[in-house]
């Protein structure tokens, strides 16, 4: 049978429990805006009853601490989606910078400046115009000047693209320090969690670990594997371990073939990272796939035009009656463009070699200076498949369409992924973020129950006084 003193101890337990629950609520409210904070709920446990003389007596309530409300599957999905969104986001930024170099020509003279498509047309048009009067110096000058514009704009574009590539390379290399700091922090948290809370959610420590994981997800693509004693291993998407237990394996960088490569130990994980995700993955995808494609297209354009035009000019006779090397191999070369050694690098190296407009071999071999048959042949190259199986204009048209399509594709991808991140973030927030309304309600509830318990305590006190005084009211108050 319960006694007044047992009621005392029961109700003081309730007061303690309410107090500690109130402190949990306070902590929630205090951390309402802390990034990574997961709301906690107090755990109430009904104390085991005692059986005295066959009567079951309740022994009150105990507060067994707080539980963080989280769904690790949901968080992991959010992290993975974040990796993809970050990858497409950074790749999109890089691609946007590239496509800005190829703004469509509206057709007005001002928008034509720097437009390679118009340069190609302008160059071949100047050759067509030379058909009309092959000995005219002004028309010959025009050919040289359009050739210079074309070569200048192509090599300029190639250089700008290369500069962007170098910038991306630096950006990517700079992320390594952040990644290493995060993996080190996770490894350390692993150690703490394994020693303090091997069997259950580690609360604040887990919050910190999840926050680090979320940050890491912005940077690189990775897989997380839960291990024994609440540990967490982190590996790249193709399985290279970055964190295992309480040790992390830092990434290092090294330059291979002029670009930064990433290593764990001695293993090169660059391609692994490029396809993985995160901002780093996006930058590497742009650096290693998109930009090389753009550069290659420019190289093919430069190579195709330079080679074909040089060969044709060498097959004719210049204004001074001298044939090119195609007419007589012993003659000096009449190359208009810097002759490319191979496809690679020919865009950046494109330039006009001849300075004397008389060296444009307008006339056919062994023809008089007024002949235009070689000009007709050169101008005709505009419609010949001289650039990788296409005419120069067609090739450039295809190139801009392909580039625009890639940018558009990544844009759509990024929009969808960002929307999906938002949705998962909403779900996670709904579950784990501090809702001030809920906390206000909890506060009120706890206040009421604390007040009630205090009241019970006061009444018990009166009862106890009555019991001690045995009806005499004044002895003890």
């Amino acid at each position: 049978m319960g006694t007044i003193s047992s009621a005392f101890s029961l109700i003081s337990g309730a007061l303690n429990a309410d107090q500690s629950a109130l402190s949990i609520v306070s902590s929630n409210v205090a951390n309402a805006n802390t990034p990574g904070y997961t709301r906690e709920i107090p755990n109430w446990q009904e104390n085991d009853p005692v059986s005295i003389n066959g009567l079951e007596c309740g022994t009150g309530v105990t507060q067994t601490g707080a539980t963080s409300v989280r769904d690790r599957i949901l968080t992991e999905r959010l992290n993975q989606q974040q990796q993809m969104a970050a990858a497409s986001g950074s790749r999109l930024a890089a691609l946007n910078a590239i496509q800005a170099l190829f703004t469509p020509d509206s057709g007005s003279t001002s928008s034509r400046a720097g437009d390679i498509g118009s340069d190609i047309t302008g160059f071949f048009n100047s050759l067509s115009a030379l058909e009309a009067n092959p000995t005219n110096n002004a028309l010959r000058q025009q050919v040289l000047s359009t050739a210079t514009t074309l070569a200048g704009d192509i090599s300029n574009a190639a250089r700008m693209v290369s500069t962007q590539r170098a910038a991306l390379d630096q950006e990517a290399a700079g992320m390594v320090a952040q990644v290493n700091a995060l993996t080190a922090s996770i490894a350390q948290l692993n150690g703490q969690i394994q020693s303090t809370s091997p069997g259950a959610d580690a609360g604040v420590l887990e919050d910190q670990r999840q926050q680090d994981l979320s940050k890491l997800s912005q940077l690189i693509g990775m897989n997380q594997i839960t291990t024994e004693n609440n540990g967490l291993s982190i590996a790249t998407t193709s399985g290279m371990t970055l964190v295992s237990g309480n040790s992390n394996y830092p990434m290092t960088t090294g330059v291979v073939n002029g670009v930064t490569h990433f290593f764990v130990g001695t293993t090169d994980i660059t391609s692994d990272l490029a396809s993985g995700g995160g901002s780093l993955g996006g930058y590497l995808a742009a650096r290693d796939q998109d930009i090389p494609q753009v550069l290659n297209s420019l190289d093919q354009l430069a190579y195709g035009i330079s080679t074909a035009i040089n060969a044709q000019n060498n097959a004719g006779t210049n204004l001074n009656g001298v044939g090119g090397t195609g007419v007589n191999p012993a003659n000096p070369s009449l190359d208009i463009f810097n002759p490319p050694v191979g496809v690679t690098g020919s865009a950046a190296a494109m330039s006009v070699l001849i300075t004397d407009p008389n060296n444009i071999a307008a006339a056919g071999p062994a023809a008089g200076s007024g002949d235009d048959s070689n000009t007709v042949a050169m101008a005709g190259l505009a419609d010949f498949a001289i650039v990788n199986g296409r005419s120069p204009s067609n090739f450039f048209s295809n190139f801009v369409t392909a580039l625009g399509a890639i940018v558009g594709e990544v844009q759509t991808e990024n929009t969808a992924q960002t929307a999906s991140v938002t949705q998962l973030q909403n779900q996670t927030n709904a579950l784990s973020a501090v809702n001030l309304n809920d906390e206000a309600v909890a506060m009120q509830q706890l206040q009421r129950s604390y007040q009630a318990a205090s009241q019970v305590f006061a009444i018990l006190n009166t009862i106890m006084t009555s019991a001690l005084n045995l009806g005499v009211q004044t002895a003890v108050s």
Binding site: P104, A129, A132, G368, G370, N398, Q411, A433
Partner: protein, 298 residues
Amino acid sequence: MRVNPSYISNLAASLNQTQAKVEQLTAQLSSGQRVNSLSDDPLAAGQNVLLLNQIQRDDSFTQASSLVQGQLQVADSALGGVVSQLTQAISLATSANNGTLNASDLKSISNQLAGVRDEVLALANTSYQGQYIFGGSETGTVPFSISGTTPAAATYNGDGNVNFLVTPNGQRIQLNVPGDKIFMAGNANDVLGTLNQLIADFASGQASSTAIADTTALSTAVNFVSQQRVVLDNSLTRLTAATEAAGNEKMQLTAAQTNLMQADVADIATQLSLSKTQQTALQSVIAQVGAGSLFDKI
């Protein structure tokens, strides 16, 4: 049901999106361009390259054609002059052949014929912008020269090369006829040779036995020159037609290109107005719901 307590940040994100849309629309309005970057419409951007290529090509052809039109007209009028000179020569030779003229008259006719020949020679050596137009590709060398007497001999210093102007749709228009094909085509069609022969026929004051045959030959030669003139006239006609076609094509293509790339102002204005409304609504919503929680009421 649990809700996301920080949904206001989502509203802010929506506000940013609307803002970006407004920015994009304003950029389209201010540039007048629908496609401001390749990814706006990759296919249109590609088409644009090809359309502009064709438009600029038409444009350039129109300019080149005005350059050669001058040359063709000069060549045509030179040949016109040659025909009238030769007609005059024929009537001179015919009057000399009727047997009523005395020796000094015949000598005088021979001299007049020599004058005609020199005129024809000068016309055969016509140049346009410093380039001889009847010398084939040897445009820097005087194409014809005369040497010797009774009969004098004409020499052609040019070659047989023909220049072409290629139209945007690939037609090749002949720009010149090499002089030897007009003035020294050999046999019955040798204009200069026949003229020299006729001069020699009457030079002595006595009509030579070949005079009548030579006069007939000159008539044939005149017809031949007229035929060659037709070649140039054809070129001129084709050139005019091709220029007109290029002009028409340019107009059509420009219209197509404008349609493809230009912003639809009415459509953009509508979208802009919608976006602005959405923006205002979002702002009001954020201002309304942003305030407080249940704690305010406790």
